[in-house]
């Protein structure tokens, strides 16, 4: 759900640019305080994997496709702050090099997919982990992270006057409730694989 240039009104993308810069500064500061040496290679590999996986659109009902966003995946491996940074890095490169997501909308995309997707997703993951076990909480958090991001995206579009709230919310959230199932399946498969080969890589 990379928002292109032209969908958001200046006051909306301007505010979200400010939130994006502020939030990233905070995430960088936090990461600098806690990042362990052994997490450095994991940052590179996670970023590379999520970038590649985002290219793999899978078909959903009705001529629509979806792809992994990777917020929960990044946060479960790297923690909420470094996870947020990795997703933001992917979004910045996609915007500047691959014209995926507009430069004006970059703040909004970072807010939706990195802040809500990775940080928000991590919160949900931790909320459920003790009650449901790791894999189920990963699945739930992955699904919610996509749905919440699509809800935020719909509100941004509505405030911008791009589409009416009553139209764009059910449309965006409805389709992303399906895409979120794909997000949950892929994230669970990858985390399950990591648990088998290198369980120590899961962020404590």
């Amino acid at each position: 759900m990379h928002i292109p240039d032209g969908f958001l009104a200046p006051q909306v993308f301007g505010s979200l640019w400010a939130v994006g810069v502020g939030g990233l500064a905070l995430a960088l500061k936090k990461t600098k305080e806690i990042l362990k040496d052994k997490a450095v290679p994991l940052m590179g590999v996670t970023a590379a994997f999520i970038f590649a996986a985002q290219m793999l659109n899978f078909p959903i009902l009705g001529g629509t496709s979806g792809h992994l966003l990777g917020g929960v995946l990044a946060a479960v491996l790297l923690g909420p702050y470094a996870g947020t940074i990795v997703i933001s890095l992917v979004l910045i490169v996609q915007c500047l090099i691959f014209q995926d997501g507009g430069l004006t909308a970059l703040g909004a995309n970072i807010f939706n997919m990195a802040f809500l997707g990775a940080m928000g997703g991590y919160f949900i993951y931790r909320l459920f982990r003790k009650k449901t076990g790791l894999i189920i909480s990963v699945g739930l958090a992955s699904w919610f992270s996509v749905v919440v991001a699509s809800f935020a995206c719909a509100i941004e579009l509505a405030i911008s006057g791009t589409s009416a709230l009553s139209i764009v919310i059910p449309a965006m959230v409805g389709i992303h409730m399906l895409i979120g199932i794909g997000e949950a399946i892929i994230t669970c498969l990858v985390i399950n694989f990591v648990l088998r080969v290198r369980p120590d890589l899961i962020y404590k």
């Binding site: 759900m1 990379h2 928002i3 292109p4 240039d5 032209g6 969908f7 960088l28 990461t31 600098k32 305080e33 990042l35 362990k36 040496d37 052994k38 997490a39 450095v40 290679p41 994991l42 940052m43 590179g44 590999v45 996670t46 970023a47 590379a48 994997f49 970038f51 590649a52 996986a53 290219m55 793999l56 659109n57 899978f58 078909p59 959903i60 629509t64 496709s65 979806g66 792809h67 470094a82 940074i85 890095l89 992917v90 490169v93 500047l96 090099i97 691959f98 014209q99 507009g102 430069l103 699509s150 579009l157 791009t162 589409s163 139209i167 449309a171 965006m172 389709i175 992303h176 890589l201």
Partner: protein, 97 residues
């Protein structure tokens, strides 16, 4: 061990980008589909603020679409991996002491 992890993980990512991405669904994604259905997709028809070197995940100048996607995926994955490692290295530098 960590060298093996970097290589293994990177190899998986590169394989996906090079061999699987050319066969990904070309249907519009969730947001694009909603924009088409609800008639606001035209708003995106603006000149992008910056011109990207590799627009739409296709290496410019390669006529074969699948090959163009593979090459773009290969280069993108390597760039992202390099940036992620560098950023991680810089951020962890303080904790090395």
């Amino acid at each position: 061990m960590d060298k093996r992890m970097i290589l293994g993980g990177l190899l998986i990512a590169l394989s996906l980008a090079v061999f699987v991405s050319p066969f990904a669904s070309s249907w519009p994604d969730g947001l694009e589909k909603v924009a088409e259905d609800k008639d606001f997709i035209d708003l995106a028809e603006v000149q992008p603020l910056v011109s990207s070197p590799i627009p739409d995940y296709a290496w410019p100048g390669i006529k074969d679409e699948r090959l163009a996607t593979s090459v773009a995926g290969l280069v993108g994955t390597l760039i992202i991996c390099g940036l992620g490692l560098s950023l991680g290295y810089l951020l962890s530098a303080k904790n090395k002491r």
